[in-house]
């Protein structure tokens, strides 16, 4: 279980508060207007932003003081998810050992992960030789070998077309189900949110509220969400 205990993020005159828990294995969409602080929230959970107050707990363990690499978290950013100078296999291998010293078994693991995301035979390619969708798949293969229990998605598929985006979200869903991972996904598309996640966290007016079922939120949106949805 991920617990945000009295979380406060302060950046200049921007403030964001959060106080809720997410059950292990849950899939949660983080929705809200652009600039509301969705990415900020994910960056704070991942350890890229310092908390002004509060604690972060994973399964009861305080992870507030840990570096991003030490946290039980895989994160995909909007862009730059792959190192362009390393091969696909190396990029995926980094998820197992950041020093890239891999045993034969671990190399097999990389191959297997690439096969799982439909990139078998692409080991030696560089990211520049892949299409946008293939790059996303390679990044997902790394998430797969990382085996981290918490996956954060900061709109990594926003540059893909609708069909491809849906395909990627389905793939994330499958992979998360295999590893029993918890997923937090930033989205500004209510349709994506409903398709992928059962729960949604609304970020608005300096507050990230506790997750509620997506259907419920959409059926009975609070004022802030109404404005955003244009209803």
């Amino acid at each position: 279980m991920l617990t945000l205990d009295g979380l406060l993020i302060r950046q200049d005159d921007f403030k964001l508060k959060a106080e809720f828990s997410v059950d292990a294995g849950a899939r949660v969409a983080v929705i809200g207007a652009s600039g509301a602080g969705k990415s900020t929230l994910l960056n704070a959970i991942a350890g890229f932003l310092e908390l002004s107050a509060g604690r972060l707990l994973w399964c009861g363990e305080d992870i507030t003081g840990k570096t991003p690499g030490e946290r039980p978290i895989s994160m995909l950013f909007q862009d730059n998810n792959l190192f362009p100078h390393l091969t696909v296999a190396q990029n995926v291998g980094l998820g197992i050992d950041p020093g890239l010293r891999l045993s034969a078994t671990q190399k097999d693991q990389v191959t297997e992960a690439l096969r799982r995301v439909g990139l078998d035979g692409f080991e030696a390619r560089k990211p520049g030789q892949l299409s946008g969708g293939q790059q996303s798949r390679a990044a997902l293969a790394r998430v797969l070998v990382q085996r981290k229990p918490l996956i954060l998605l900061d709109e990594p598929f926003s540059a893909l077309g609708p069909a491809l985006k849906a395909e990627m979200l389905d793939l994330v869903g499958e992979l998360a189900a295999e590893t029993h991972a918890t997923v937090l996904m930033v989205s500004h598309d209510p349709e994506d949110a409903g398709r992928f996640a059962a729960l949604a966290v609304l970020v608005a007016e300096g507050q990230a509220s506790a997750p509620v079922p997506v259907a419920e939120l959409m059926a009975n949106p609070p004022e802030a969400l109404k404005d955003y949805l244009g209803r």
Binding site: F48, K66, L100
Partner: protein, 511 residues
């Protein structure tokens, strides 16, 4: 907190590098201050050197920049065959050994040079290249290209749309100058003047060969003379202190004026200039570029041709010296790269210490420190490599810092999220992503070190020399053919070192 932990882990290389630079610069400075004889008598004797240093640097800076303006303007608004090559060559004097340039200038403007040959033929009295005019001539030769590139960048910073608008408004050249070009020049020129002024303040090799005597001695040269001729260490230290204040002040001022780096990309764009399409202006631009090219290329061409015929007369000592110089260049390149990598993230300011202190000042300090314990001559090789590394460090840091910032911006979070730290981060992220700027910085450092004639003159013994020093000795002994051969070898090695390193960073690089 989380961020703090990452920063500490990442910062150790930076702190080590900053500490090292601070130690090898500040400790010698301390020795200089400790030893300096600041009694009135010592300072009055060297007042002439201070005055001459300031005078020649001022005249050199203003002349270089004034001559660079028409050349840069012509390059900014004309397209002609060889333009790209000429702009590339304008970057070359930076890695051109000073002593080679001086030899070329002697061949044109010296006592038996082309100019005096022509003057004698038409019955005019010969002109002398020695003294203030020679020092300024050499400084303009060395810095005109830098000034041209800096000002050209300013010109190219003016968006093409502005010139289009000016054309649609029917502005005449004078109006375009007032509205568009003058504001740009007012922003760019002070920095250009200041940088060249600062570079000329620390001039040693030029003054050593073309200056000298009570009327044309720079402070750097006076430090050297206090060492070599009088072995008056406290006077050398006092001079070093004066030099430190002057050069440090000038460097701080130059940095404060935020000078654009002279070696940037994107100089190959020519903006269409409707108002300048008249025969008179074309002719003027052609003259500016033509004269600049002749001034810069003829001396080098002569060095080349004399060098080819002099190669056969080169004594074995030159080849030994060439070997020594290459070793020193490689050592200082390694030191500079390691330090620059450490400092490029947050310690840029430490890297610039090398600009504030001149080689002679650090050399004097190191000499004072070493002298009580060991023979400074025995340590000449490592000291020369170290000082050369420090002198190239500002340029290496300047090249690396923005690139490193970009890599960290693009991939820092990903690397953190994957737990890429320390050696793994260096090996898997930084080195591969920074290959091009690193190679370029390595090329610059190696070439600068190869051609440097500075601190080595303080420390060297008669049976040992670097190639520039050996070449200087040959010139001093009037063995001009052998010196010309040595100059060609020196020029070739400098360019080759630069080319090999820089090239190494360009082949097989991924997007």
């Amino acid at each position: 907190m989380a961020r703090g932990a990452i920063e500490i882990r990442r910062a150790w290389l930076g702190w080590t590098a900053a500490g090292f630079v601070a130690a090898v610069v500040l400790v010698p400075l301390g020795a200089v201050i400790w030893q300096a004889d600041l009694s009135g008598q010592a300072l009055t004797a060297d007042w002439a050197a201070v005055r001459f240093t300031l005078l020649q640097a001022t005249v050199s800076a203003f002349t270089s920049v004034a001559l660079a303006i028409p050349v840069a303007r012509a390059l900014a608004r004309r397209r002609f065959p060889g333009r790209g090559l000429l702009i590339t060559l304008l970057g070359a004097p930076f890695i051109l050994p000073v002593i080679v340039a001086v030899l070329g200038l002697l061949a044109v403007f010296g006592r038996n040079g082309l100019l005096n040959g022509a003057l004698g033929w038409i019955g005019v009295a010969p002109v002398s290249i020695y003294g203030l005019q020679g020092v300024v001539l050499a400084h303009v030769f060395l810095n005109l290209p830098l000034a041209t590139r800096v000002i050209l960048q300013g010109w190219q910073g003016i968006p093409a749309e502005r010139f289009r608008l000016a054309a649609s408004l029917g502005m005449r050249p004078r109006q375009v100058f007032r509205v568009l070009e003058w504001p740009m020049l007012r922003a760019v020129l002070p920095g250009a003047v200041m940088v060249i002024f600062a570079l000329c303040l620390s001039s040693f090799a030029v003054a050593l060969i073309l200056g000298g005597g009570p009327r044309a001695t720079t402070i750097e040269l006076a430090i050297y003379q206090a060492f070599r001729f009088d072995f008056d260490l406290s006077r050398a230290a006092a001079l070093a202190l004066v030099q430190l204040v002057l050069a440090g002040g000038a460097a701080a001022l130059a940095l404060w004026l935020a000078v654009p780096p002279g070696f940037g990309a994107g100089l190959d764009r020519v903006v269409r200039r409707w108002e300048a399409e008249r025969a008179g202006l074309r002719l003027f631009d052609g003259l500016a570029v033509g004269l600049a090219a002749v001034f810069l290329l003829v001396p080098l061409a002569i060095v080349f041709f004399n060098g080819v015929s002099g190669l056969a007369r080169v004594p074995g000592s030159v080849w030994e010296a060439a070997g020594v110089s290459v070793v020193i260049a490689l050592v200082s390149t390694s030191v500079t790269l390691i330090l620059a990598l450490g400092l490029a993230r947050r310690g840029e300011i430490w890297g610039y210490l090398g600009l504030a202190v001149s080689p002679m000042v650090v050399g004097t300090g190191l000499f004072l420190l070493i002298n009580p314990w060991a023979s400074p001559i025995a340590l000449a090789l490592p000291v020369t490599a170290l000082v050369n590394a420090l002198m190239a460090l500002p340029f290496a840091v300047r090249v690396l810092a923005p690139e490193l910032a970009r890599v960290e911006d693009d991939f820092g979070r990903l690397a953190d999220a994957l737990g890429l730290h320390g050696w793994a981060r260096l090996r898997l992220l930084l080195l591969p992503r920074l290959r091009r700027p690193l190679s370029f910085a390595a090329g610059l450092t190696a070439a600068l070190s190869m051609g440097d004639l500075g601190v080595v003159a303080l420390f060297a013994s008669p049976d040992w020399a670097t190639l520039p020093l050996q070449m200087y000795r040959l010139m001093g002994a009037y063995r001009m053919e052998a010196a010309a051969g040595a100059a060609l070898i020196l020029l070739g090695l400098s360019l080759m070192l630069f080319w090999v390193f820089d090239r190494g960073g360009r082949v097989d690089v991924d997007a």
